[in-house]
């Protein structure tokens, strides 16, 4: 458990996740208030990573649900294992006729059978999908619902029960309530707007690109072989590139790739030529690279 905001920053740092006071505050509050968090922000700022690191720093299991178009409750909540049910009825045919032997009329037989029906709709034949797993898990878990904006709006409706009451209703069995409330993180890339009902149940966190100091810290933590001088210079260059009207701004992970590449090339300081040659680690569109080359003077100026 995190004790306060400062200790949240510290424990996440131990998991090699450097976060701002904003991120830490929301994570800390979400834990205290037992509320889900909706994380939004540009791609590659570490939204998914946050979920993983929260799980490992709290010593909880991580259950991840990747959303996509057409994801339905059978893939997210639970599904009846029809084939297994069928197989069991086939195998138990003899047993069934044995039970039914004494019943004289058809309606007696039906009554008898419906008395046994529960067997086939029990947890034995239920495949728990990520959300039910998180709810039924005997240990506290972190449930990461990734890229919720990719799912359909119908799917959001299924989530509402889970997000507010941490329970799943299965008509044949009843309501399954969580023993330990899972820590729920939802991430979104703003492909579409979430419904108000969902937002109301969540705390909201917008993660933007980090400040220079923060990004320097991230790079030196993740790429320790990279020298301090190089870190400072390359992060400054990245920040200047983000100010240009790029098709896709370089994300943190791309900054890290660039830092790794430059270190492998044996750079100790950022040299313009080498930087230009390795720009493709940072920028993924030809147009963006050209634009960066055009502005090389400003980007690499001291």
């Amino acid at each position: 458990m995190f004790i306060d905001v400062a200790s949240t920053i510290e424990s996440l740092e131990k998991e090699k996740y450097i976060c701002s006071a904003e991120i830490a505050t929301t994570v800390f509050l979400a834990m205290k208030m037992e509320k889900p968090v909706l994380v939004e922000g540009p791609a590659g700022v570490g939204k998914t990573e946050l979920g993983k690191c929260v799980a490992s720093s709290l010593g909880m299991d991580l259950i991840r649900l990747q959303c996509y178009e057409g994801l339905d409750e059978a893939k997210a909540l639970y599904e009846w294992e029809y084939a297994k049910q069928l197989l069991y009825t086939q195998i138990l045919k003899d047993k069934l006729s044995c039970i039914m032997e004494n019943e004289k009329t058809l309606s007696d037989a039906v009554n008898r059978l419906s008395g046994e029906e529960d067997v086939f709709f029990s947890e034995k034949f239920l495949i728990p999908r990520p959300i039910l797993q998180a709810v039924t898990s005997p240990r506290p878990t972190v449930l990461l619902i990734d890229e919720i904006d990719k799912s359909d709006s119908e799917f959001e409706a299924f989530l509402l029960e889970v997000l507010s009451d941490f329970q799943v209703s299965i008509p044949e069995i009843g309501t399954v309530k969580a023993a330990h409330r899972p820590f729920v993180l939802l991430t979104s890339n703003n492909a579409r707007e979430m419904s108000d009902a969902l937002k109301r149940r969540c705390l909201h966190l917008y993660i933007d690109y980090p400040t220079r100091e923060l990004e320097e810290k991230i790079v030196s933590l993740k790429v320790p072989e990279c020298g301090a001088a190089l870190v400072a210079e390359l992060v400054r260059a990245v920040h200047r590139i983000r100010e240009l009207p790029m098709k896709k701004d370089p994300s943190i992970s791309e900054t890290l790739d660039w830092a790794k590449a430059l270190t492998l090339l044996g750079c100790e300081v950022l040299k313009e030529d080498e930087a230009i040659r390795t720009l493709n680690f940072l920028l993924k569109y030809e147009k963006d690279i050209e634009l960066a080359k055009k502005n090389r003077k400003e980007i690499f100026a001291h």
Partner: protein, 461 residues
């Protein structure tokens, strides 16, 4: 412990004031969010500015496009008051509890103090209610300097009189000697306090409204009347507004996504039931995104409109399957490549500094339409929506009506947005009315809201 409960109440009121500032500024906040905010406050140390700010933001603001608005409200509400030193929660707390300490100084009882505060608040609220158009400074002026302008005139004097007639008795009981001086001091003190309180109350009640007003004002302002500073402000607003529009439209699109039965998928999925189609799978209906061709007159009379139109179109680019844009004065030029290379704003700027749009003198719609049909007719398909933005002032030249009709025949829809007032469409050198019968609609646009409403409507079938 009644005393402590009162303090809590005072602080709660302050927080509620803040939420109403946000609401006034246009942020949607429901009761759940307010309750969450109070719960969050129990868990964090409010003296740390970042933590305090984020605790409010994370519980109250659920739409990231509202974050800039939140930041402005937060700065106005919490930081301006704490003086130049930035944020200090203790000063804020003192503010909230100010009533109590001043009560001790004036010798008024708590109830009297509470009643006074309530009276002040009621007075301020009525004056604000009566003058919805006035700025906070003007309202303070009405309240403190010339109360004749408001129907509650003299209310302040009355208020002070009441207080004065109340307080001497209180101080007389405690201290008889040297009463004259002290009474004057106290009167000044009370008057100062009342004035201060009024100022603060006006400020709190109007902060949000001022921000929202500003947005509304800009959206509703005649575009050609915008000053250069306002244009700058508009850009930020267009970004925010465009994003909201985009979110709304994309949500709407998602809802009508389901189409006919997907036989292939249904069969494959139902193999596990021995081929009996227990569960039906439907095909996703193709999202029908319009293809857009924008023709913008960029002559000086409509250039500002074209600028915003282009900015808005390209902010919403993702909603259309294809956008091609053309600019003309008397020569039609495709400007789509510009928008591919740079962000909309730079692109728009570079268009207006370019010069190869003119051929001869003034706007020439006829020549441009003919040229468009000759050179760019490949951009027109049965799925294309054409938007023309211009005032149709053709400088008495050939209207090129044949070419225009051919454009309308080759696209699905053609809409004409005209910045001129309706009664001017056939006036002087304007030939807008000549084109009008061939358009699906010719619409008068005056402000940014008209433009965005129009775009919004494109997506409703």
């Amino acid at each position: 412990m009644p005393r402590e409960r009162d303090e809590q109440h005072d602080i709660q009121t302050k927080f509620l004031d803040f939420t109403s500032v946000l609401k006034d500024a246009g942020v949607t906040i429901s009761t759940v969010e307010v309750l969450d905010m109070f719960e969050a406050m129990c868990h964090v140390d409010p003296c740390d500015r970042d933590v305090f700010r984020q605790s409010l933001a994370t519980t109250l603001v659920k739409d990231y496009t509202d974050i800039p608005v939140f930041d402005r409200c937060f700065a106005e509400f919490f930081e301006k008051k704490s003086g130049q030193k930035g944020f200090d929660f203790n000063i804020f707390l003192q503010d909230a509890l100010n009533a109590e300490t001043s009560g001790k100084r004036t010798g008024m009882t708590d109830e009297e103090m509470d009643r006074l505060m309530e009276e002040i608040e009621a007075l301020v609220d009525t004056v604000i209610g009566e003058n919805p158009e006035k700025s906070p400074q003007e309202i303070i002026k009405i309240l403190l300097e010339n109360p004749q302008e408001s129907s509650s005139s003299g209310a302040l004097g009355q208020l002070l009189f009441n207080v004065r007639s109340r307080s001497p008795e209180a101080s007389m009981d405690t201290d008889m000697t040297g009463r004259g001086d002290r009474a004057d001091d106290d009167d000044d003190f009370i008057e100062g306090m009342v004035r201060e309180r009024i100022r603060r109350r006006v400020f709190e009640k109007t902060t949000g409204r001022v921000i929202n007003k500003r947005d509304e004002y800009l959206l509703n302002r005649y575009i050609y009347r915008l000053t250069p500073e306002e244009v700058k402000e508009m850009r930020e607003l267009i970004k925010r507004f465009g994003q909201k529009l985009k979110n709304r439209v994309s949500l709407r699109k998602k809802k009508v996504k389901r189409g006919g039965i997907d036989i292939k998928r249904t069969l494959r999925k139902n193999l596990q039931y021995g081929g009996t189609p227990f569960r039906i799978y439907r095909r996703d209906r193709k999202i029908d995104r319009p293809q857009l061709v924008v023709l913008c007159d960029i002559s000086s009379s409509v250039s500002q409109y074209s600028r915003f139109m282009l900015l808005l179109t390209y902010t919403l680019q993702g909603l259309f399957s294809k956008v091609r844009s053309f600019a003309f004065i008397s020569n039609m030029v495709e400007i789509t490549p510009l928008f591919m290379e740079m962000d909309p704003e730079r692109a728009v700027n570079s268009i207006f500094s370019d010069t190869n749009f003119t051929y001869g003198w003034g706007s020439n719609y006829g020549r441009c339409f003919t040229q468009f049909i000759r050179e760019y007719s490949d951009s027109l398909t049965s799925k294309t929506t054409v938007l023309v933005l211009g005032d149709g002032r053709n400088n008495n030249q050939d209207p090129g009506l044949d070419s225009f009709i051919r454009i309308t025949e080759r696209c699905r829809n053609l809409f004409w947005l005209n910045p001129d007032r309706r009664h001017l469409w056939a006036w002087s050198d304007s030939i807008a009315e000549l084109y009008m019968p061939y358009c699906n609609e010719m619409k008068e646009v005056r402000n940014f809201l008209d433009l965005s409403e129009f775009i919004d409507k494109l997506f409703v079938k």
